[in-house]
Amino acid sequence: MKEKHIQISGIILAMLYAAFITWLYWAEPKDLLEVSTKAQTTIENVTTKTQVAIGTYEIDKAKFEDGLMYFYKENYVAARDNFEKADPERRDARTQFYIAYSFYRQGWGRISNDDALFKQGLEQTNRLITLDKNFKSDDVNLQIKTPVELKSEFEQGLQITADDFNPLKVLRERK
């Protein structure tokens, strides 16, 4: 083995080792088992970011379908979890719309709405508007089709008006 080869391998090995150490201090795994789990997560993140960078990013369709199934079963927490896993980079307007809608449906109440969920829903909708303002859902099961309508629902739900004390309000239906 020539001196040059030793030097090159020394540089490469040192860089790899240094990268591993930097990653360990960044990821802070608690035990050896977590080292492999966190390494896998990091690799997935890097892969997703690379896909975004080179323009080949796609959502995980299986996870999206699972999310949709939970959404129709009215298990909104599980639905959101699956939607978030399907679109970790929050770049797909359709998935983000369902996440916002799940906040609306979960937070909606016949007498009063859940303000915390509505606030999260409003934030999510604002993010969706930034992503794609003209998005329109083609899901026939949803009465609200656009982010602007959804935003209006959230804002009205968060405001306290004289209309909130109208007893006929209990007769309204969830959209």
């Binding site: 030793i6 030097q7 540089i11 040192a14 802070e28 795994p29």
Partner: protein
């Protein structure tokens, strides 16, 4: 009477006139044994030369492997272990990032290494070296810097009054050393002493003042009132005793690495 020349003698005269004169020296014909011993001597000299060349090549290769593979490995291992602590109850890994002051101390330490001749700049970097060699040498130095940073990270207490006291002591010592005349051996001895003392203070003295974590607050106060008081007053972190063992080997690796560090990397052909 005319002389009559015979045809045979005429031919001889012609041949002798055509032959050129050859200068030469007469050598004694040596016997066979003499030639053999001479050849043997020559061969043995050549073999010796080859052996010394081989030995030089092997030692050069070994020193190259030591410098470019082993030294970065040992220093980076120190960098890995220097910030590692084990949690007191579940022995979880805790990777503590070095505070800024550790980077400053490491920089001062590198200046000290250059001043004391532990590393000679002209023997590590030169325009005459190839770019690859300069880059490889830089890699070793960066690994040394990372290791130095993490050694300070390992030896400084994590928080509270002890952190400030020991940081001040380190700063005082390094600052004084910066203006002192040092030899390499003296510097290494001084560093060994300094780091050894800091290790004893942190991992023996302060660790023994820290109350164990697997007790509730009331139990701690009744069973170990002094330790609880010291832990509270000095803001001592509770780590597993294994942390001390890890840091002992970290420090040992670092000192071994410094001992193996060559002042000059110019043995090879430029």
């Amino acid at each position: 009477m005319s002389k009559v020349q015979s045809p045979k003698s005429k031919v001889e005269e012609d041949i002798s006139s055509e032959l050129s004169i050859v200068d030469g020296e007469l050598l004694e014909v040596s016997d066979g044994e003499g030639l053999i011993t001479e050849r043997k001597n020559r061969l043995s000299i050549e073999n010796k030369g080859q052996k010394t060349n081989n030995k030089e090549q092997i030692s050069n290769r070994q020193s190259t492997i030591l410098n470019y593979l082993f030294l970065p490995f040992i220093f980076l291992t120190v960098a890995l272990l220097g910030g590692l602590r084990l949690g007191s109850q579940t022995s979880d890994f805790l990777f503590l990032k070095p505070p800024l002051v550790c980077l400053i101390f490491a920089a001062i330490l590198l200046i000290l290494f250059f001043r004391a001749g532990l590393i000679r700049f002209e023997g590590w970097f030169s325009e005459n070296f190839s770019t690859l060699k300069n880059v490889a040498n830089t890699t070793i130095l960066l690994a040394l810097f990372a290791a130095s940073t993490q050694v300070f990270n390992a030896l400084l207490p994590e928080s509270g009054l002890p952190f400030w006291v020991i940081t001040f002591c380190f700063f005082w010592t390094l600052w004084n050393n910066l203006f002192a005349e040092f030899e390499t051996k003296k510097l290494l001895k001084s560093l060994g002493g300094l780091f050894g003392l800091a290790f004893v203070v942190k991992y023996l003295l302060l660790a023994n003042l820290t109350a164990p974590a697997n007790e509730n607050w009331w139990q701690g106060i009744f069973q170990n009132p002094t330790k609880e008081a010291f832990t509270y007053l000095l803001d001592l972190p509770r780590f597993s005793p294994s942390t001390g063992y890890i840091q002992f080997f970290t420090l040992a690796f670092y000192l071994v690495g410094l001992f193996l560090l060559p002042p000059v990397l110019t043995k090879e052909k430029r």
